[in-house]
């Protein structure tokens, strides 16, 4: 059976696994986004804390994903989607925190000063002026994380996580069978397509949510 025939035949399964994959990535990204943006807002005006947090996030990203899954498995004592999502959240932090910090620090000091000058308090200034202006940069961070997580999630199958990893690992298990390559290729291709779709979706989101005045 050639690859196209195989893909058509396993279309339902592919779609199901793809949706699972997308779901686990989006949940991880959502939680990571909330934590990462909150962290970025907390540290951007505190240089020491900012460097400490960015360093920790950087170190997390250097941990190989296999090692991370093994570690979380023993730490959390459970398999399935939960430890995978925890791993995704951890991996998503660096791009999001870093871009939040960069975006907020990049807001023109004169704009912040005039926001103060019209009598906006700390939080109003952050919510209605600084964050909206930092938003395109923050969103780039989220977009980078999204693509990163799609790949990392594929390995989550080894601790029972959902998603396209199942096809890839199934291919590995039956490496001598004629369908091994088809399986692995199908899983990989699915991962790539999801990555590209997410990338495009965030690009579109950025267009739609950025004020005309700063585009």
């Amino acid at each position: 059976m050639n690859f196209v025939e195989y893909a058509v035949e396993n279309y339902d399964r592919l779609l199901e696994l793809s949706l699972d994959h997308l779901a686990v990535v989006l949940v991880g990204l959502l939680i990571g986004g909330v934590i990462g943006i909150a962290l970025g807002i907390t540290v951007y005006q505190r240089p020491h804390l900012r460097n400490a947090v960015l360093n920790v996030c950087g170190v997390i990203l250097t941990v190989p994903s296999l090692a991370m899954y093994a570690l979380l498995l023993s730490l959390l004592g459970t398999i399935g989607a939960m430890p995978v999502i925890v791993a995704l959240v951890l991996y998503s932090l660096l791009p999001i925190v870093r871009n939040t910090v960069t975006g907020l620090s990049g807001v023109d000091a004169a704009i912040v000063e005039s926001a103060k000058g019209v009598g906006m308090g700390r939080w109003r200034r952050l919510l209605s002026i600084e964050f909206p202006l930092a938003w395109p940069v923050v969103l780039v961070g989220v977009r980078v994380s999204a693509v990163l997580l799609v790949g990392v999630a594929a390995l989550g199958t080894i601790i029972g996580g959902p998603g396209l990893g199942e096809l890839i690992f199934a291919g590995l298990r039956v490496i001598t069978s004629p369908n091994a390559v088809n399986l692995a290729l199908l899983g990989t291709l699915g991962v790539v397509v999801i990555g590209m779709l997410l990338d495009a979706a965030f690009l579109l989101l950025s267009r739609l949510t950025t004020s005309k005045g700063v585009r």
């Binding site: 023109d108 000058g117 009598g119 308090g121």
Partner: protein, 398 residues
């Protein structure tokens, strides 16, 4: 007339700096006047301004607004009572012009209708069409239009006081002059109490009802009307500061023929050494200028070189710094700086000696130009305030 703002012993210390940026400043701002804080950079004028709305918190001292001590009041509520305009304008780029101007009214919780009416009124006030501009974004406006919107935003909730930090400083000279004139006309209608910071003495003279000239530590060197500051500067610092205008620019426009030349001892080469020595002795200069038969300058000679005997053709220095009456004073100054003697020789079209230009000639020319420039600024200001048309050159420039 009552005082709108009173600063009492206002002080700002920055950690790690030996001297306070603002040192025990006492200053009162009368209601309805434009008071200019002017001084060299680093004198603390901007720090002083920003302490009034507490963008910079004072280290000690008291700020009174309409008699009320606001030194410890809620800074956000204080700022809604004070219009604030800065050089970089600081419009919110992601918001429309309408929303930018409405910033303070929205914070104060005005109704939609009241805000809409006010926006219309404000845009007319700053001479822009509401229908065209309310929905635009800051980046779609020119620098001058942006600062008009900056002024409109500061005026939005009709605050009694406006603080302006070099508001026209980033504009090109033509836009700056237009906005200055417009603003003076506007002030004629609204009569706000305005504190205005600039480093440009010409702008201070033009815009101010009163000028506070500040030296280091925001110490008041003189606080008076522009006319008095110009006519009776309090000390050498003030005198020097009001002379710091665009002298070099003026020197680039003035011609050598417009100044009275300095005399200089000369002697004909053919008259010999004795005549040259006599010319030198009878003056208090160290050099004598030797001329040829056609009175063209040839050599500069010192007393030492005139001792002994012989022809004068080869003694002393060749005369290099020579200009004609059509040269600019900048050109003359440049030649002077390159000359060993420190003097430029002026010759007529045939090369014959007319006189010399030295530092004193340049300085007195600068004095004359300054006086004329200040008179022009004062006249200009009077004309604008009387509601007459701006001077012809401003119209031509548009």
């Amino acid at each position: 007339m009552t005082d709108m703002i009173a600063l009492e012993q206002l002080t700002k210390n920055y950690p790690g700096q030996a001297r306070p940026a603002v040192d025990k400043l006492d200053l009162t701002i009368p209601e309805g006047e434009i008071v200019i804080l002017v001084g060299p950079s680093g004198c603390g004028k901007t720090t002083t301004l920003k302490m009034i709305n507490r963008i910079i918190e004072p280290s000690s001292g008291i700020i009174r607004l309409q008699g009320e001590d606001v030194t410890r009041a809620d800074p956000d509520e204080l700022r809604r009572r004070i219009g604030y305009v800065i050089q970089q304008v600081g419009l919110f780029p992601h918001q429309t012009i309408g929303r930018n101007i409405a910033a303070v009214p929205r914070l104060l919780g005005w109704s939609r209708q009241r805000i809409a009416d006010r926006l219309d009124e404000l845009l007319h006030l700053v001479g822009m069409d509401p229908a065209t501009y309310l929905g635009r974004y800051p980046k779609e406006l020119s620098g001058g239009q942006r600062q008009r919107i900056g002024v409109a935003r500061a005026l939005a909730a009709d605050p009694p006081v406006m603080l302006m930090d070099e508001p026209f400083g980033a504009l090109d000279p033509i836009s700056r002059e237009r906005l200055q004139n417009e603003f003076l006309r506007l002030q004629g209608q609204i009569g706000k109490t305005i504190v205005f910071v600039t480093h440009d003495i010409d702008e201070a003279i033009k815009m101010g009802d009163r000028i506070a000239i500040l030296r280091e530590g925001s110490t008041v060197a003189q606080y008076d009307t522009p006319e008095t500051v110009l006519a009776a500067p309090a000390d050498d610092f003030v005198k020097e500061f009001i002379g710091s205008g665009a002298s070099l620019k003026g020197l680039g426009l003035a011609r050598v023929r417009e100044v009275s030349l300095a005399d200089w001892p000369t002697s004909q080469i053919s008259a010999g050494r004795e005549a040259a020595r006599r010319a030198l002795d009878s003056s208090d200069h160290g050099w004598v200028l030797l001329l040829d038969e056609q009175r063209r300058p040839v050599r500069w000679v010192e007393a030492r070189a005139l001792q002994g005997e012989g022809s004068l053709d080869r003694v002393g220095l060749e005369v290099r710094a020579i200009v004609e009456p059509t040269a600019t004073l900048v050109g003359a100054l440049e030649s002077m700086l390159g000359s060993r003697v420190g003097v430029v020789v002026v010759v007529d079209g045939s090369g014959a000696f007319l006189g010399t230009i030295d530092m004193r000639v340049i300085m007195s020319a600068v004095e004359v130009m300054r006086a004329a420039a200040h008179k022009r600024v004062l006249d200009d200001r009077r004309r604008v305030r009387a509601g007459q048309e701006p001077p012809a050159n401003a119209i031509a420039a548009q």
